[in-house]
């Protein structure tokens, strides 16, 4: 029983990190039709800068941890905004080129990170409470998972409120449905494009800091590893659906944890799930619509 609880909560914790990466991916694809292969480096950049700031402020202090979250999110947001504005937007509607440029950017930036921070993993420490455990129904659950879950829920709620309550949110929801009709109403969707990249980048940067705590290290390949699962989550959840991304994140991560523990084939189980969903529901669990 305690094992099941442990796998379940750590699974949801991992799902929280997947969601932080997948939410941006899903909204970007839904609105712009861009498969953003550079999304992983937004995450890695956030994780590295967050780590640098925490190290300077005192990695084991709460202030250092809070600052690392903030800086991580900011770093991801700025990197993503610049990527959209100067690379992706210039290739408006040219999807193959957009894929190529984001793949190219990802390769180049990982190499750059290798140059700056080295290829070896940097081990992370946070406030002592984070590395301790809390006992729930006999299971000793690492505390950092709770932080990841709470922050992912906060991000989910914030994005939902943004989409539901603001004019730009409305433009994004409408744009995911029918972008050309949005422009035909006199709206310049390019601003919404930059905005959605920025939001996605911020979530990914935040996810980077949390992932580095959950895994205990940060390395130049951290984001690329997570990106693969985030893409799977996005496809399973339904491209463009935020709720779908949230549900699929938890589904994929929990399945992965259980399959890993009992059979040692966690990644394989995820790929099987992907195949089943793609074959039976090609548009994913929630289809192509931003429902909040």
């Amino acid at each position: 029983m305690s094992t099941v609880v442990l796998l379940l909560i750590t699974g949801v914790g991992l799902g929280a990190i997947y969601f932080l990466v997948a939410s941006g991916l899903s909204l970007i694809y839904g609105l712009m039709g861009v498969l953003n292969f550079a999304h992983g480096v937004f995450l890695t950049f956030g994780a590295f800068l967050g780590w640098e700031v925490a190290a300077r402020m005192g990695a084991t202090t709460w202030a250092g941890f809070a600052a690392s979250l903030l800086v991580g999110a900011l770093a991801g947001a700025v990197f993503a905004a610049l990527t959209e504005r100067f690379l992706v937007q210039r290739l408006y509607e040219r999807h193959i080129e957009q894929v190529l440029i984001t793949v190219g950017l990802a390769l180049a930036v990982v190499a750059l990170f290798d140059g700056i921070w080295g290829t070896d993993a940097r081990f992370i420490s946070g406030p002592p409470w984070m590395s301790r455990t809390t006992t729930i129904a006999g299971a000793n659950v690492p505390n950092d998972r709770f932080v990841a879950i709470v922050l992912a829920v906060v991000v989910l709620v914030a994005i939902v409120l943004f989409l539901q309550r603001t004019r730009y949110g409305m433009i994004i929801r409408a744009g995911v449905e029918n972008r050309s009709m949005v422009t035909a109403l006199g709206i310049d969707v390019r601003t919404a494009f930059t905005l959605i990249f920025t939001i996605g980048g911020a979530a990914a940067g935040l996810g980077g800091v949390l992932a580095s705590h959950a895994f205990g290290y940060v390395s130049p390949m951290l984001g690329q590893t997570l990106l693969i699962f985030a893409f799977i989550v996005t496809v399973i959840g339904g491209l463009g659906s935020l709720t779908g991304a949230a549900i699929a994140s938890v589904l994929v991560a929990v399945l992965q944890q259980f399959a890993n523990y009992y059979w040692g084939y966690g990644d394989f189980a995820v790929v099987v799930l992907l195949a089943v969903v793609v074959l039976t529901r090609p548009s994913g669990l929630m289809g192509k619509k931003v429902t909040a």
């Binding site: 004019r167 409305m170 409408a174 109403l185 006199g186 709206i187 619509k289």
Partner: protein, 261 residues
């Protein structure tokens, strides 16, 4: 909010600094358009009169919708497109709409996940007055169903949302593509009445298969065949000419309410 849109519009047309009463609000010359490398409009000339409805007619697949989309900048195009004498042929779609071109697409294209109110709020253009009183007077249902998701509305109600989005702003011209398509006869009448009111607010370029609606509303017609404009003239003269309607539309221009549909 204006109390009397028709007279204000007439004043604009008559007393505007550049507009002469007879100058077309929209002028299209030698328009060509293509979709995915295939030419869908070969050579279209047309003018939209400064008041009233100009109908764009033709059999299915001759390029009526493509012509409208090309004017809107939604598909690749070349040729001359002037709005109030200014070239808009190279502008992106959002700027064309921003200059005062209201667009009601063929399949309504309401945002189904957004509520009726959100569909209208999205259409509010900066720098334009928003005529909610006119819209809700024409379509009181939209006010009652404001909180309903547009995707759950009937086809007729969705058409009202689509028309309302175009009527909400102070537009120079409205491009309305098959607004009565697939609607029940009662709704056709309702939409036709709304179109008549729309034409009082701004000149309309109307694609319409229902020739009775065309007869009731349009003063001028432009007829397309195979991506080319082949006839321009007075609407009733054209519709009363059985030889011309038979040849160009494949129907009699009579009073059959089902029209060419």
């Amino acid at each position: 909010m204006t109390s009397s849109p028709p007279s204000r519009d007439a004043a604009t047309v008559g007393a505007g600094p550049t507009a002469r009463p007879t100058a077309p609000v929209l002028l299209v010359r030698d328009l060509q358009a293509h979709v995915a490398g295939q030419q869908v409009v070969e050579h279209v000339d047309l003018q939209v009169a400064p008041t009233g409805v100009t109908a764009l007619l033709g059999r299915n697949g001759v390029g009526k919708t493509s012509t409208i989309k090309a004017v809107m900048g939604l598909i690749g195009r070349s040729g001359t497109i002037e709005l109030d004498g200014e070239d808009i042929s190279t502008l992106p779609t959002f700027r064309i709409a921003g200059r005062g071109v209201g667009y009601v697409p063929e399949d309504r294209e309401v945002f189904s996940g957004l509520t009726v109110t959100e569909n209208l709020r999205l259409a509010e253009r900066r720098g334009s007055e928003h005529r909610y009183d006119l819209v809700y007077e024409l379509f009181p249902e939209l006010e009652q169903r404001g909180a309903q998701a547009a995707g759950t509305l009937s086809g007729g109600q969705q058409q009202m949302v689509s028309l309302a989005r175009a009527l909400l702003n102070d537009n120079r011209v409205l491009l309305i593509d098959e607004p009565t398509k697939g609607l029940a006869p009662r709704l056709v009448t309702e939409v036709a009445e709304a179109l008549a009111r729309a034409a009082e607010v701004a000149p309309v370029l109307l694609v319409e298969q229902n020739l009775q609606v065309v007869r009731d509303l349009a003063r001028h017609v432009v007829v397309l065949t195979d991506g080319r404009s082949v006839h321009h003239g007075d609407a009733s003269d054209f519709l009363d000419d059985p030889v011309a309607t038979q040849r160009l539309l494949g129907v009699h221009g009579g009073t059959d309410p089902a029209g060419a549909a």
